[in-house]
């Protein structure tokens, strides 16, 4: 390439070409996304007429919801409390198991090298299968009630917390472990004296975050029969008792909001 006759130098020229290629790339993506949107809509039989009809039935339903049935409150309140309790136990169960398993999953702490990979696969699986599906499986295994709900939240939490905790264990300062090892500390001593103090802020903030998530899940676990307030949603909608349905939603809102305020406060204190 003759640089003298070229108003752009080689670098600028290449940048311009690649920019043009990028624009083409974005255009293709955009066209593909639009096409896929309309394809998906047609596959699900969603069309403008149906959307308009849907909104009119929805607005009728919302009109029928008012005023909310406050008479239900005395019955719903204990169920909301039960949901909170399920979330607490599920979260605690998840934290205990994920810390324990992370000791074996973290590359720098595990006694058996291959175990880390297996456990991380296990974390990925328990994380990817949604909490409600876990609840459905545990109900089949141990029957209806709060126990399957607690177990479902616990298992689902292990997937997320196990991943985060084992990664944070892997990122700790090498010198800490080596120093403790050189003094002849046992595996447990290394863990509790070296690893835990360094990672405790991460453990606490993620545990609180997970509690926030678990409260949302526990409010709906009941739709499959795993305890708490969720079943009331299904019951009210099946009986077409829409004022009660709105009341259930209001109770869930207050519950989620109150817990969020609490964890927000706790997070500030931890920090």
């Amino acid at each position: 390439m003759k640089k003298v006759n070229n108003p752009l130098n080689e670098k600028e020229f290449k940048a311009l070409i690649s920019k043009r290629k990028d624009n083409l790339f974005y255009l293709i993506i955009l066209i593909f996304m639009t096409f896929f949107l309309f394809f998906s809509l047609s596959q699900m039989n969603i069309n403008p007429a149906r959307v308009i009809r849907g909104f009119s039935t929805l607005s009728d339903l919302i009109k029928n919801m008012f005023p909310p049935d406050f008479g239900q409150l005395s019955r719903l309140w204990p169920l909301a409390i039960e949901s909170i309790q399920i979330a607490i136990l599920g979260t605690v169960l998840g934290i205990i198991f994920s810390i324990t398993l992370s000791m074996f999953a973290a590359k720098n702490l595990t006694p058996i090298p291959g175990l880390g990979v297996v456990l991380k696969g296990f974390f990925a699986f328990t994380r990817a299968v949604p909490a409600l599906v876990w609840a459905l499986l545990f109900i089949t295994a141990v029957g209806l009630g709060t126990l399957p709900g607690i177990l479902a939240l616990g298992v689902n939490s292990i997937g997320m917390l196990g991943k985060v905790f084992s990664e944070s264990f892997e990122n700790i300062n090498k010198a800490t472990i080596e120093g403790l090892n050189s003094t002849g500390a046992s595996r447990m001593q290394v863990f509790f004296q070296g690893v835990v103090p360094e990672t405790i802020p991460i453990i606490l903030s993620w545990s609180l975050f997970r509690f926030d998530i678990n409260i949302r899940y526990s409010s709906i676990l009941g739709v499959v029969g795993a305890g708490g307030i969720g079943w009331e949603l299904v019951r009210a909608s099946r009986m077409r008792d829409y004022p009660a349905l709105l009341m259930v939603i209001l109770v869930i809102l207050v519950m989620v909001y109150a817990v969020e305020q609490f964890t927000g406060y706790a997070r500030r204190v931890v920090r």
Partner: protein, 272 residues
């Protein structure tokens, strides 16, 4: 000991003590909460002990191995789950762009509108997607239409807030500069606000699509279509090995979608 050092030490001790006290308080709080929940839910060690062998037997006898020959049954529900998540994400993004702009206090000077926008997103966010699905199934009937709208509403709650938060963080210097040369509100939005907002926009939108796949996989449990519906049917008919196959589909779908969104997000963010 040097006087200065003594002072420092005293200060250090003082500053440590409230921390330890707080920690003790937090530990007591957690223990009390656990005991309270333990009593309230009737959770018991014997029940767990009885449960563990049952779970073990259920997994060994009923769930494993998956019925691989039933894989075709879940093909259409899996695609439907993908459609719901995708259309739900697009609807949510469109809704949230409006919601995000009116909730950003640096773009809208009217306090009332900002509070209203924030209030709407926080309401949409606090109601779980499955609860939205219950309402929408009651309103528009069973099927993926209800699921799609439920996912869109739940997503709009989250994106409305995150969009507004990132819009509020943009550098207002550029906005002021454009205003100074007489640009219209719309011109300011597209020329000064949008370029700064795009990286966050893509990050959050892709993240939401990831979350939507999870929601779309479960809204079927209340009749709103997709994998959840087939999974529920299989379990109700005691076809547990088919259910395992369905769970593997969910797992596979989530892994693939997460991989693709991560790749395309990085590719797009690179180009910005």
């Amino acid at each position: 000991m040097d006087r200065n050092m003594e002072n420092n030490l005293a200060q250090l001790k003082k500053s440590r003590r409230p921390g330890q006290l707080r920690l003790l308080f937090a530990i007591i709080l957690v223990i009390v909460a656990v005991i309270w929940s333990w009593a309230g839910t009737g959770f018991s060690i014997p029940a767990i002990m009885r449960g563990v062998p049952r779970i073990y037997n259920f997994i060994i006898d009923d769930l494993i191995p998956p019925r691989f020959d039933s894989w075709q049954k879940f093909l259409n529900p899996t695609l439907q789950t993908l459609y719901m998540a995708y259309v739900g994400a697009i609807f949510a993004i469109i809704l949230s762009l409006g919601l995000g702009i009116i909730s950003a206090n640096n773009l809208i000077s009217n306090r009332l509108i900002v509070y209203l926008g924030r209030g709407i997103s926080s309401f949409l966010r606090a109601v779980p997607a499955v609860a939205w699905a219950v309402i929408l199934v009651a309103a528009v009937g069973l099927g993926p239409f209800a699921g799609t709208i439920a996912i869109a509403l739940g997503g709009a709650g989250m994106l409305g807030k995150t969009y507004a938060d990132s819009l509020e963080e943009i550098d207002m210097g550029q906005v002021e500069a454009l205003k100074a040369v007489g640009a219209s509100w719309f011109q300011v939005l597209t020329q000064a606000v949008l370029p700064q907002f795009l990286p966050d926009f893509f990050t959050w939108s892709f993240y939401r699509f990831d979350l939507n796949i999870r929601s779309a996989a479960v809204v079927g449990l209340v009749g709103a279509g997709g994998l959840g519906f087939s999974l529920d049917t299989a379990i109700r008919l005691f076809q547990f090995r088919e259910a395992t196959m369905g769970i593997l589909w969910i797992f596979g779908l989530i892994l693939i979608v997460e991989f693709i969104t991560a790749k395309s997000r990085d590719k797009i963010l690179e180009g910005l």
